[in-house]
């Protein structure tokens, strides 16, 4: 994939590219080239088109495009309008746009491959994500305001380029989460397409009021309380399917969720149940304490060899446990590696730690692929 190191970074609108008329220097029949490359070819011709203001290039300023188009955008748009394509976008690949804007859903892989090339060129340029310009250039019927809202979500996902990107919480971020590859959400693993799946999240929250566990056990259907066995009420809810331990001090532990958001929602539901039972429960200091993920590398692993070469991190006692316990130092994660190639990762406080740990272990395991 040819990279574009020498080109000055500029705002891109790569969904527009394929539709530009043939008078354009763009080679229209180059379907192998990604849209990014096509656009950058075009930009090479228009080098005098550099936008004076570029908030994108400073590493500190988050990549947020303001809804009111600034100079670069208007000039850009006007330029495009001169080669106006009319509203016909049927052949444009809008797969990376959120569902509400596109007409068809394409494969995630398409998006990912685009992101990969994007990330390749990103290392040279500071530019991370592409703004969608004003509404008029998008497919018919799309609301420009919704676009500008979503645009503000095009945060730089690359951790190495821009760190302090504040999220805009009030907009619907989930549709665009698939486009903007923030490292936590869709890790593009360079080594393989395997992504660890989260299996369990343990979180704690402080309800900040003393609780009468007997009363809770009496009034709630989904609670069990056996003070002789354990000094907490065990409560369960069906959606999300989780279990909570509620202590008389007002502290609560919530387990069993499959994602951070589900854990938070579940904890809120438990707090609401406690509230309905008459206690002045609040929702303070919600914190994820542990995340467990698992995945399958799909080849068998010689655990004896692994324990020999990575003695300082591994512990393999077949008399006690069939798996190898690998204590990774950075990130601080414990991995259980089995001969069948299944890997369990635990001890993470952040999703990214699990992904990072798997990225670190995969090349090591590949080295033990054959006997």
């Amino acid at each position: 994939m040819p990279s574009a190191p020498s080109r000055a970074p500029r705002p891109l609108a790569y969904w527009v590219i394929p539709q530009l008329p043939t008078a354009d220097p763009l080679p229209m029949d180059e379907e192998t080239e990604t849209y990014l490359e096509l656009y950058l070819d075009q930009c090479a011709v228009q080098d005098d088109f550099v936008p004076p203001r570029s908030p994108l290039f400073s590493p500190v300023v988050p990549y947020v495009y303001t809804p009111n188009p600034s100079n670069p955008e208007t000039t850009f748009n006007s330029h495009l309008e001169s080669k106006e394509t009319s509203g016909n976008f049927s052949s444009v690949d809008l797969s990376f746009l959120p569902d509400e804007l596109t007409q068809e859903n394409k494969d995630q892989a398409v998006i990912r491959s685009k992101h990969e090339t994007e990330e390749n060129s990103e290392t040279q340029s500071q530019q991370s994500r592409l703004p969608l310009p004003s509404g008029q250039d998008v497919g018919p019927g799309s609301d420009s305001s919704s676009l500008s809202n979503s645009r503000s979500h095009l945060h730089p996902g690359d951790a190495n380029s821009i760190q302090s990107a504040p999220a805009k919480p009030n907009c619907n971020s989930s549709p665009l989460a698939s486009i903007t590859p923030m490292t936590p959400m869709t890790p593009v693993s360079e080594c393989c397409g395997i992504v660890p799946q989260l299996q369990n999240i343990v979180s704690t929250v402080n309800l900040a009021c003393k609780l009468d566990l007997k009363k809770i056990a009496l009034h709630a259907k989904n609670a069990e309380y056996n003070p002789k066995r354990f000094a907490a009420v065990i409560m369960r809810i069906r959606e999300p399917r989780t279990t909570a331990l509620i202590f008389s001090s007002g502290k609560m532990v919530c387990t069993g969720a499959k994602s951070e958001e589900q854990s938070r929602l579940a904890a809120r539901k438990y707090a609401r149940v406690v509230q309905k039972l008459g206690f002045p429960a609040r929702f303070l200091d919600f914190k994820i304490q542990n995340m467990v993920g698992s995945c399958d590398v799909r080849f068998s692993i010689r655990l004896e060899g692994l324990v020999l070469t990575h003695q300082q991190f591994s512990s393999y006692e077949p008399e006690l446990f069939p798996g190898l316990i690998y204590r990774m130092v950075k990130p601080r994660i414990v991995l259980l590696i089995f001969v069948s190639g299944k890997v369990v990762l635990t001890g993470a406080k952040e999703r990214s730690e699990i992904y990072e740990a798997f990225e670190n272990i995969y090349p090591i395991l590949k080295g033990f692929r054959k006997a």
Binding site: K221, R264, V273, K276, L303, E317, P318, L320, F321
Partner: protein, 415 residues
């Protein structure tokens, strides 16, 4: 004493060693004060004056070898002697125990844990010197639970930051097989069952190596594999008399416990041998099964390296081996068709060389994870919460039921 002694009364350093009725004394030559009688341990403060003190206030107390530690050290030495370990092992194990005892977590642990700690220290010593001692043996000797043992062992390794090598399989084979009572005729061992130790050892070792190569050992307890291998080795040395003997009977004759997984290891090992046998032309004709293949174990072991390479392929199959087999298959096809076998019969195409857990079909299909669009901040409807709460009527019923239950349990027994 010329070195550092001072008289507590006058402070002079002129202390003379003198004896009074054959009891040695230290006397100040200035004032005549008897500084010390006899040679006993002293407190630090009195060390200068060399005064005799009680044990509880003496420097002996500072060495802090508490009674329980002393007991533990004695247990370590006893265990080493019971296991008939070389004498150097004893000192190392004692040193590990003392090192562990420095940590407050160990000092404050329960007696059960300290007892198990004894076994852990001995185990680590043996592992580091390649002495094949299994955890099961230690647990049997200490009457300890394997769970408690494993917890203490992992904690100790982490605490002391030790590098403990894995169990040496070859040594374990030798030790374990030597413990079989099959090398001399006895009332429980018929004449036909007696076997030469060296032959059995070497064959067992080869079978265990074969099992290791074909993924039967990784992740599993080593001992059942060795039991199964020893059984096959013993059977194959005189198949005509011994094929009728079962694994359980074999262990009983050998006066050895039969570990539970040994029978499944045996089946796996036989399956491997059968696949290897299918690569040999003269054996392929015989249509071997799990019993008859035992007679040919000797041949199979002799050529085990080539046969394993031929019979199995890795997940990433090399094209050369495929072609090689096809070439061989052609030859054998001709041979087999001449013997009237059905057309198109080739030697078994290479099976995948994988651990048995990967070859078995999965017990349950892992459901593909659904992408959830939960944000965590959704509204929680009242009705959803209310479904988890009891109505007042239900509360009354529940309380009544609870009271009834308690009344029933608290009814006093009639005298």
């Amino acid at each position: 004493m010329p070195g550092g002694g001072r008289c507590p009364d006058c402070g002079s350093t002129e202390l003379v060693e003198d004896s009074h009725y054959s009891q040695s004394q230290l006397v100040c030559s200035d004032c005549g004060c008897v500084v010390t009688e006899g040679v006993l341990t002293t407190t630090f403060s009195d060390e200068g004056n060399l005064r005799e003190v009680t044990y509880s206030r003496s420097t002996g107390e500072n060495e802090q070898v508490s009674r329980s530690e002393q007991r533990g050290l004695r247990r370590v030495r006893d265990l080493c002697r019971v296991l008939q370990l070389p004498p150097t092992f004893e000192d190392t194990a004692v040193a590990y125990y003392q090192k562990a005892y420095r940590h407050s977590g160990i000092r404050a642990a329960r007696l059960q844990k300290k007892e198990v700690l004894v076994g852990c220290c001995v185990l680590i010593t043996c592992r580091q010197r390649n002495w094949p001692l299994t955890m099961g043996t230690i647990c049997t000797l200490l009457y300890a639970d394997l769970d408690v043992f494993s917890g203490t062992y992992m904690q100790l390794v982490k605490l002391l930051g030790l590098d403990v090598p894995s169990l040496c399989l070859a040594e374990l084979v030798k030790t374990y097989c030597s413990s079989f009572k099959l090398f001399q005729a006895s009332p429980s061992v018929p004449a036909k069952y007696v076997e030469d130790k060296e032959k059995m050892l070497s064959r067992t070792l080869q079978l265990v190596e074969l099992a290791d190569e074909t993924w039967l050992v990784t992740g599993r307890h080593p001992l059942p594999v060795i039991t199964a291998a020893a059984f096959l080795a013993w059977q194959s040395l005189q198949p005509s008399y011994r094929l009728s003997c079962s694994l359980a009977r074999f262990c009983k004759s050998a006066n050895v416990d039969l570990p539970h997984p040994a029978s499944s290891r045996l089946q796996e090992l036989l399956a491997v041998l059968l696949r290897m046998a299918k690569q040999l032309a003269w054996l392929q004709v015989l249509k071997l099964d799990k019993r008859s293949v035992v007679k040919h174990i000797g041949d199979l072991l002799q050529h085990r390296h080539t046969l394993v390479r031929a019979a199995f392929q890795d997940g990433m199959a090399e094209m050369e081996t495929q072609k090689e087999l096809q070439g061989r298959g052609q030859g054998e096809e001709v041979g087999s068709s001449s013997l009237g076998l059905p057309q198109g019969k080739r030697p078994a195409s290479p099976a995948l060389l994988l651990p048995p857990c990967m070859l078995k079909p999965p017990k349950r299909i892992c459901p593909t994870p659904t992408v959830s669009t939960v944000t965590g901040d959704e509204n929680i409807s009242d009705s959803e919460i209310e479904q988890y709460l009891r109505t007042p009527q239900e509360i009354r019923d529940f309380q009544r039921a609870q009271a009834a239950g308690q009344a029933a349990t608290s009814v006093p027994n009639p005298p």
